[in-house]
């Protein structure tokens, strides 16, 4: 196993390095730079030159990249040019908020997925099954901004019980914070919920076909009890694995959801940083996102390798 990991590691690191290089140079190819924002509305050429020198932007790009990479490897992400503050602090605050949203979404997707999955097994009539599969398909494919708009319209405007957007930390004020979390987390949870539902349903069907459930049935144990006490616990482990893999997907969908609900997470930070050319911040955010992606992929491969030993030999 360790051997497999060691073999996979170089290519993961390669993607990271490649990404860091691409991010750094593409950013500098983008017209407009942070100096424009920092120089205010009436800058003289001296102002612009002074700020540029102050930020070290007058040095050759390759030298800038070297310095930055060395700093990052030492764990120093630098200081934000425009937004202000240490990049590491900015990043960790926003990651905290994104994690809050992601955990909320994971809980929702698990709950909704379980309900839909169990219903998928217990509902027997054709009409019911058709409705269930329609719900599944809709939640899988409807874009986040469409479901977000509908929820805002329903629960923030027509029937104003929830705020249309914004953020209050669940940790600092659980009651209010939860109300802010509800809609964005629900929107984020919809597509993974459909996937969870599929896995739950498949797992349940499989477990219900196993010997021990058939035995239990023949012993006269009620169907409901078999489902909840025997089949479901057996169907859960693969579902949890899938859920873990979905984390990366959720982080990606955060950008648009944060835009719809004014949630101050990583996506919003990335958008702010790109439009203002806050180089150190964009570099850190993008590198973090790429790292999450790479790690999730690595873990996925690892999980497959655990399940299927043949993969390890490849």
């Amino acid at each position: 196993m360790t051997g497999y990991l060691l073999r996979r590691l170089p290519s993961a690191l390669g993607v990271l390095l490649l990404a860091s290089f691409a991010i750094f140079f593409i950013l500098r190819a983008v017209p407009g730079d942070p100096v424009a924002t920092l120089a205010g509305s009436d800058p003289s050429p001296e102002t612009v030159a002074a700020i540029r020198a102050d930020l070290g932007l007058d040095r050759p790009v390759l030298a800038q990249y070297g310095t930055w990479l060395a700093d990052v490897l030492r764990g120093d992400l630098g200081r934000s040019y425009v937004i202000g503050g240490e990049v590491s602090e900015l990043l960790s605050q926003r990651i905290g908020k994104s994690v809050e949203l992601t955990i909320g979404a994971l809980v929702f997707s698990l709950a909704i997925g379980l309900v839909l999955g169990v219903l998928g097994v217990t509902v027997k009539n054709r009409a019911g099954q058709a409705v269930l599969s329609a719900i599944n398909a809709i939640s899988l494919i409807v874009p986040a901004y469409v479901s977000g708009f509908l929820l805002v319209f329903l629960f923030a405007i027509t029937w104003p019980v929830l705020p249309p957007g914004g953020h209050v930390s669940v940790l600092s004020d659980p009651q209010i914070g939860f109300q802010y979390l509800l809609m964005p987390a629900l929107v984020m949870a919809l597509p993974p919920a459909a996937i969870v539902a599929r896995y739950v349903k498949d797992g349940l069907l499989q477990a219900l076909g196993e010997d021990y459930t058939r035995t239990a049935k023949s012993l006269g144990i009620p169907h409901r009890r078999i489902l909840w006490r025997h089949a479901l616990p057996n169907a859960l482990p693969p579902v949890l694995t899938v859920l873990g893999m979905l984390v990366g997907t959720l982080l990606g969908s955060a950008v648009i959801i944060e835009a719809v609900f004014a949630w101050p997470g990583l996506g919003t930070l990335a958008e702010q940083a790109v439009t203002r050319r806050d180089y150190p911040v964009i570099q850190a955010v993008l590198l973090f996102m790429v790292a999450v992606f790479v790690i999730v992929q690595l873990l996925t491969d690892l999980a497959y390798a655990l399940i299927d030993p043949r993969v390890r030999l490849r």
Binding site: T249, V255, I256, M289, T300
Partner: protein
């Protein structure tokens, strides 16, 4: 992370089931006369309730978009003093927006814009992704390079990619097309690479090679037609992803250049009026949903047809 805004795409990420599992390929019997068989299978897939509903949804919207000049006499960009009037008033069937433009004609023209973007971007993504897949299967080194490139493209959330491309290339349809292409490249590329690898070693391909077929002939006559199944399905999925992405980019203000109407642009403009003029948002919401659902139904129908 490739599936962020494109939650519709059931495949490229590590997550869902291996929808494009090569096992679904046709048996040896099918391989004997590949072409006629394929057409029939897809047709049969589309002629199911699922497929018909999907085709109807997309067809009606496509038709409405193409026939926009015939369906409405209003110039979609003409502004008037009648701002935010409700449906039916002042000669506007579906009301006006905040600067007095006819909403119905804007909606119809926005379908046009959308479809234009999608119909350019998806084939382009398929072409480039396919070309890269072909490069990848030639040589081990090329394979590693191409795969890392796919990884890299997949690792950026699509909207971040959108923001960056727009910052470089400016606002407009060109940037949207570029972003969609960049996102489609790895999904088409990975899929084709996998399919080619599988089919290259199947008996019929091996037989053809022994029978003296050159590599190009082998590829075009034997491998590609058999690898086409997942691709045909993926084209429909990719189109819905493209519709979603266009909407998302226009929604966050980096999409189609004003004053041209776009679905996401209209949706985002309607937000401040959601309370007092909810009809404004309704149009783009319905159209986007219908397009996405329709395209996914088609994809699903094709998929089922191909597996039969």
């Amino acid at each position: 992370m490739a599936t962020d805004v494109l939650s519709a795409a059931p495949s490229p990420g590590p997550v869902p089931a291996p929808a494009h599992a090569p096992g679904a390929g046709p048996g040896p019997a099918a391989a004997a006369k590949p072409r006629r068989r394929i057409r029939n299978r897809y047709l049969r897939g589309l002629m199911t309730p699922r497929g018909i509903i999907g085709l109807a949804l997309v067809g009606v919207l496509l038709g409405a978009g193409l026939a926009a000049p015939l369906l409405t006499s209003h110039d979609p960009n003409f502004q008037s003093a009648d701002a935010l009037v409700g449906p039916g008033s002042a000669g506007h069937l579906y009301g006006t927006d905040e600067i007095g433009r006819d909403l119905l004609s804007r909606l119809l023209y926005s379908i046009r814009t959308d479809l234009m973007v999608v119909l350019i971007a998806v084939p382009l993504g398929l072409l480039i992704g396919g070309a890269l897949a072909l490069v990848a299967v030639t040589h081990r080194v090329a394979d590693v390079a191409v795969q890392r490139l796919f990884d890299l493209l997949l690792s950026f959330p699509s909207l971040i990619l959108g923001l960056t491309v727009t910052a470089i290339a400016g606002f407009g349809a060109g940037s949207i097309v570029t972003v969609i292409v960049l996102i489609e490249i790895p999904s088409f590329g990975r899929m084709l690479r996998g399919a080619i690898l599988v089919h290259r070693d199947r008996e019929y391909a091996v037989a053809a090679r022994i029978g003296g077929a050159g590599p190009l002939r082998l590829l075009t006559r034997h491998v590609l037609p058999n690898a086409a199944d997942p691709v045909v399905v993926q084209v429909a999925v990719a189109m819905s992803v493209a519709v979603i992405l266009e909407g998302a980019m226009s929604f966050i203000g980096i999409g189609i250049r004003p004053p041209d109407a776009s679905l996401g642009g209209m949706l985002s403009a309607s937000r401040p009026y959601l309370e007092d003029h909810p009809f404004y948002a309704l149009g783009p919401l319905v159209v986007i949903t219908a397009l996405v659902v329709g395209l996914n139904l088609i994809a699903e129908a094709l998929n089922r047809g191909a597996r039969r």
